[in-house]
């Protein structure tokens, strides 16, 4: 799971121009992660087993982990260390792989992208680092014993992928209808303990020091404002005629 700014947030750039300013920004579970939680819960309801949620991040990740617990996930692991601040996707995948390397699970579900960073990289990287099969950006999943069949939306078509568990799945809208946490779930989640793992516990201390990063943010800026547009005047017929003329001769796009 990833804790991300609410998609309705207004974004400001931090003073060092390397990140956004998180002050006053509401933090939510990345919307694509909700499909991952739901799919894990559905699988558990059908086949039994246990579900564990992981999140790499600072204090903000705690609320997201509690949200997952409230929806019915059994246990939560907060991967947190000062060395893990502002990790790039490959480093995030390495940290998760360190936490998951001992196995003991059949499937890993991740949202297909964390909104905000919008990278869509960690799930496939994690699958590679754990040497597992992957099916990314899936809209349907069937599991039969240790076999899976997943449906992916691709450009102008749907693709069906078959493979064996354990595997990494990245979840897309359409896969399921995420449930809301129940009041009872929220109460129970408050009492649950969240395990915390730092770089030392994961055996990766010093690996993600700032000067060893392979990718760095040079600068973050706000987008250029679009030039102010114009509303067309007159009745519908006049407006439409004017629009076609502008698209043809001024904008030259038709």
């Amino acid at each position: 799971m990833k804790a991300v700014p609410d998609t309705e947030s207004k974004i400001a750039i931090a003073g060092d121009k390397k990140n956004i300013d998180f002050n006053g920004v509401r933090i939510i579970t990345s919307p694509f992660d909700e499909f991952a939680i739901e799919e894990a819960l559905k699988l558990k309801e059908k086949n039994g087993g246990e579900t564990t949620v992981f999140s790499v991040g600072g204090a903000e990740a705690t609320d997201v982990l509690r949200d997952s617990l409230a929806r019915g996930i059994d246990s939560a692991v907060h991967i947190s260390d000062e060395e893990f601040a502002s990790l790039d996707p490959l480093s995030t995948a390495k940290v998760l792989a360190a936490a998951l390397k001992d196995g003991g699970y059949d499937a890993i579900f991740c949202g297909q992208q964390g909104v905000g960073g919008d990278n869509s990289q960690v799930p496939a990287m994690l699958a590679e680092l754990l040497n597992m099969a992957q099916a990314t950006i899936i809209v349907k999943l069937e599991i039969d014993g240790t076999k899976f069949k997943a449906e992916r939306e691709i450009e102008g078509a749907h693709e069906f992928v078959e493979g064996s568990l354990p595997a990494v799945f990245s979840t897309q809208k359409g896969l399921n209808e995420p449930r809301y946490p129940s009041i009872k779930g929220v109460m129970a989640a408050r009492r649950k303990e969240i395990a915390v793992k730092n770089a030392e516990a994961l055996g990766v201390k010093g690996q993600f020091a700032a000067d060893s990063r392979k990718i760095k943010v040079k600068e973050m800026t706000l987008p250029k404002e679009r030039p102010v547009g114009r509303k067309l005047d007159g009745d519908a017929d006049t407006q439409v005629k004017q629009l076609v003329e502008l698209l043809r001769t001024e904008a030259r796009v038709i």
């Binding site: 990289q121 992957q134 067309l232 439409v240």
Partner: protein, 327 residues
């Protein structure tokens, strides 16, 4: 010392994706600044003849991985092919179009080679002979410039942002085979079904016509579809109408849908929620048609029409029909 740019060329059923040609053209443009040559890599079965169409985009060399194991896309076989291609060429940068195949493939290969990756690049900067990648983040509410500290770095380029530049002259370059085994296949594509819906892929269409709540109901999609047909446009939709079940999710434009950058985006009855703007605010020209003069979408539109969107779309379709008839 690694140098040059390797471009992964995506093909399905023997058809090269236009966005891959954009990536190849951009690689050629940037290679003069970044140093080194451009190599194109194409993977598939019986793709030699289409590989022969690539020299006109100015690569110094085309590499072909050809064989039965590569007939359909599978993560593992294609990851082997691209990883071997990178080892053979030793490029400083690897480019690919940001498509559903690339989202599956490129991060996997980057992780295998312990290399960083930046997705959905929309611009480049050059500094001291190095390429810096610029891309929108936070749904286009911020732009980030990334620099690399790695012998090789991967980048995926947003479709429809970079221009295809092909040579009109007869250009030639070596087209060579690269032998790759497809060993260790953990998952594979067993079938592909064509989707009903857009004939033109949303993310690659040069014109997109999208509908929101203002179209009043799913029975009115044909009104928008007629305009699409007249313009050769793809049909898009807002999250509100997808969530309401008026149309399939594959049409959704926005933060939890597709990102589009067409030349012309026509928003019909769409209020302009921030999640929707995220998916289309890099469009060149935006036309907004909405009956609410205070709708947020008008702040982002190049041209705005306040009015009933169904009536306006019908008139617009007729007017464009007339224009086509006169030409």
């Amino acid at each position: 010392m690694a140098e040059g740019i390797l471009v992964f060329i995506e093909q399905r059923q023997g058809k090269i994706r236009k966005a891959s040609l954009e990536a190849l053209s951009e690689a050629y443009k940037q290679s003069s600044a970044a140093g080194g040559n451009v190599t194109a890599l194409i993977v598939g079965k019986d793709v030699k003849s289409i590989a022969g169409t690539l020299p006109k985009y100015h690569p110094a060399k085309v590499l072909v991985v050809d064989g039965g194991d590569f007939e359909n896309y599978s993560t593992d076989a294609y990851a082997n092919a691209l990883a071997e291609g990178v080892k053979a060429v030793s490029p400083k940068y690897v480019f690919a179009a940001n498509t559903s195949m690339a989202k599956d493939l490129i991060p996997r290969v980057a992780a295998r080679l312990d290399a960083p990756c930046v997705s959905d690049v929309t611009d480049f900067e050059v500094e001291g002979g190095n390429l810096l990648a610029k891309r929108p983040q936070f749904s286009g509410k911020a732009y980030t410039v990334f620099e690399f500290n790695s012998p090789v770095a991967f980048m995926t380029l947003r479709p429809n942002v970079f221009a295809v530049q092909e040579s009109s002259n007869n250009v030639n370059c070596p087209v060579e085979d690269l032998a790759v085994s497809a060993a260790d296949i953990k998952a594979k594509v067993v079938e592909t079904h064509a989707a009903s819906g857009n004939k033109i892929e949303l993310s690659e269409a040069s014109i997109v016509v999208s509908g929101g709540r203002g179209i009043k109901g799913p029975e009115n999609w044909p009104v928008l579809q007629s305009l699409c047909d007249e313009l050769g446009a793809a049909l898009g939709a807002s999250r509100a109408v997808v969530d309401a079940g008026w149309i399939d999710h594959q049409h959704q434009v926005g933060q939890t849908g597709k990102t589009v950058s067409p030349q012309l985006y026509i928003a019909c009855g769409i209020s302009g929620a921030i999640q929707h703007l995220a998916g289309m605010n890099s469009s060149k020209v935006i036309v907004a048609i909405n009956n609410n003069p205070d709708a947020e979408i008008f702040k982002h539109a190049t041209y705005g029409i306040v009015g009933d969107c169904l009536e306006v779309v019908q008139k617009l379709t007729d007017e464009i029909k007339k224009m086509h008839a006169n030409n």
